[in-house]
Symmetry: C2
Subunit: 205 residues, 2 copies
DNA sequence: ACCTGAACACCGTTCAAGT
DNA sequence: ACCTGAACACCGTTCAAGT
């Protein structure tokens, strides 16, 4: 299992093959089928192990600041997925159903419910946030790969762009390829602002 | 090219292999290397063709309703990625740099700038929205795959969950696995609400 | 009972050899 | 000049044969 994690982190999602794992363990692929049902099962186990690294404050319900707590939960998930930068793609292949995933979901949902989100809102809030983080994390991988290929190429292409056909892009070329972490934080705050508004609207009625 | 698109739509992203394409065209893999630099190039061309299907209103700048226009641009992108449900994964493999991608970005940026978004805000707004849509679209594929395997399994698992350890999840089990399209619309409105707030704050100063 | 080499049906990519 | 069969180095998965 830790060998599998090492392969994923060091050599990427594609390298996490049964052959590679068997080789590193000094075993054979056929033997691995005794420990894992198939590649999907291997992936699921590695994924849940990583999800276990995500931190969520298990605070007393009733504290007044839900926004920092929820933000922290999202940021922690994003950080873990950034640390294991190759895991995001694997999360597309299979929606996590492991025990650690269940714990994470429970904690965040409890947080929302404890802070006055109605039952109709909390699951949607959770789903939006989780998918938001995952969506960004997936693109982090792609981003890193592109960057390692050619850091400035995209930026250069944007500056070379035809100003007549693409005036807006041209005007924003200096801002446009921005660190994905910044985009993540920006969008997360948009979501939280939107959620706060909805919660308060609900509280008024 | 249309053959490649057919393969992608009907048989999935994995099936879009050089061998498969060569076979369908009655040609050989080696010959395809005369038309495409490599698989990534083939993928890039198919991807940009699909991006060309996205609709963005090329309205006069100055109209008062930016929110519906931006929402429509995001929804159209989401719909196209849903129609070609296997393309999302390919967008992770390679960030789109084709001509159609450039046009889409230009239109949305122009829309934001025309409606009073400052230069510091517009690119971040665009980036957040684009990544939001893409992130969801990626999960749409995974979701569909999971569903075709077993529609009700996740829901059932959620209802079977230990109410002592997971009270919040349990309380929300009836709402929790919700149509991803609904989650998408919900989160999109959160983002737009957050953006409206930021734009107005900026206008005040 | 447990393990594994070898097989089967696939990949992307390259290249010598054919027309 | 253009095309391609065959090769090379990989996959996931299975199974007969070994210990």
């Amino acid at each position: 299992m830790t060998t599998a994690l090492t392969i994923l982190d060091e050599d990427g999602a594609d390298a996490l093959s049964l052959r590679m794992l068997a080789q590193r363990l000094g075993s054979s692929t056929a033997t691995l089928y005794r420990h894992f049902e198939n590649r999907a099962d291997l992936v699921a186990q590695v994924v849940d192990r990583i999800i276990g690294e995500i931190e969520v404050d298990d605070e007393e319900p009733g504290a007044t600041h839900w926004q920092p707590a929820v933000r922290a939960a999202a940021v922690s998930m994003f950080k873990v997925l950034s640390r294991h930068r190759n895991v995001a793609v694997l999360l597309t292949e299979q929606i996590p159903t492991g025990p650690n995933a269940a714990v994470y979901r429970e904690r965040v949902l409890a947080l929302l419910l404890a802070h006055g989100f109605p039952q109709s809102l909390a699951p949607r809030a959770y789903a939006s946030l989780a998918r938001y983080v995952l969506g960004f994390a997936m693109q982090l991988t792609a981003d890193r790969a592109a960057k390692s290929r050619d850091e400035a190429r995209t930026s250069a292409a944007l500056h070379r762009i035809d100003a007549t056909r693409f005036p807006a892009t041209r005007a924003l070329a200096d801002f446009l390829p921005m660190p994905i972490e910044e985009e993540f934080a920006f969008g997360l705050d948009l979501l939280l602002a939107g959620l706060a508004q909805m919660r308060d609207q609900h509280a008024e009625t």
